[in-house]
């Protein structure tokens, strides 16, 4: 069975809600405590990027299955300026602001599947999976 919900990403408090709902989905999918924490943290990173750099958007949370395993799938989309140089953005320590530059690269290490698509001027979309 698949359950889906879409949450707004317009302000800082939305990130808190997204984390709470991702944790709930991960619990419902019976992911282990470490996996739950990892997917929640990855969601927090990507959602914050979407808000700060992308000017906001939305977050889709799906509890589903992947190759017969319980899984959580997240798709976080914004309609901001996009990322011109993806390779650079994904590099450990690169930040155009004043962060640690570990959000994108760190999130990728925290999840089981990570897909990023970005068109300059069109926005950015990140899909992440964590499964049992």
């Amino acid at each position: 069975m698949t359950t889906t919900e879409t949450l707004p990403l317009k302000q800082e408090t939305d990130i808190v809600t997204i984390r709470q709902r991702v944790r709930k989905a991960a619990e419902d999918a019976r992911l282990g405590l470490v996996s739950q924490t990892k997917i929640v943290t990855a969601a927090s990173e990507i959602a914050r990027n979407g808000l700060i750099y992308g000017g906001g958007g939305q977050c889709l949370i799906e509890r589903t299955q992947r190759e017969g395993r319980a899984a959580v799938r997240l798709v976080i989309i914004d309609h901001g300026p996009g990322i011109a140089n993806l390779e650079q953005a994904m590099t450990d320590g690169y930040t155009s602001g004043n962060g640690l530059g570990l959000g994108l690269s760190g999130a990728r290490r925290l999840v089981d599947a990570f897909e990023i698509a970005s068109q300059p001027g069109q926005g950015t979309s990140v899909e992440m999976w964590k499964w049992k």
Partner: protein, 280 residues
Amino acid sequence: MTVTVLAELLQQNETALLDRWIAVQRAAGIDPNRLDDRSITDNARDLLHALVRAISEGGDDIEHPQWRPVKQLLERLSHVHSQQGFPPTETATFVLSLKEPLFRLIQKSDGNTIELLWACTRLFDQLGLFTMQAYMASREQVIREQQESMLELSTPVVQLWKGVLAVPLIGSLDSNRTQVVMEALLQKIVDTESDIAIIDITGVPTVDTMVAQHLLKTITAAKLMGAKCIISGIRPQIAATIVHLGVELGDVVTKASLADAFQLALRELNVRLVANRLGA
């Protein structure tokens, strides 16, 4: 078979029932600011359709798998209603208000009217209760989420010993709050001339790079003021996550619990605690 008759009756009169049901809901004075005509119609049509199928295929036992779609619709509706602050009565009224048009229909039919009415009442009361239950579950969730954000509002910096401060962080840490807490800690270090500050993160559910950065900045600032920070309460799942994020905690001292951190602090201040031996 009362249920079969009921199913037939519903099937044959679906359109007429829908019209009358919508009329009843409007007459019941549902606040048009909360629910526009379009949603009333859509909700009613979807539910009635699911209902007709459920009764035809699953009988009058709402635990039957064929009733899943109806329950899902009611759950979704209850969820939306509770999130949007609809009163519970209005939510239950939605499904219960189908009784009136249905009863009129039964009255005009030529089956065993009493039996039909009874079956119908039993069924709708169950659906009404189910709706209320779903509504309450959703409300409870809202309350839980609110409680969690309430926890974010205040965090005290406490003095555990002369020269030792502790700040037990609880709840989600986002920019503003973290900033406030960290500034309060630095100020208190100055005010109390403390040498050691323990930052306990046992109650922090998520440590992302922003939180880590705030912690690191605070530790650096404290160092410049001659104080040393100890982070306590890093749970195993948080530790694993920090490592994967790639955050370097460098030479930051960490301890499993606040108690361990406090002991270390006392040791560094050359304080020895000696148990009082009774009857010695």
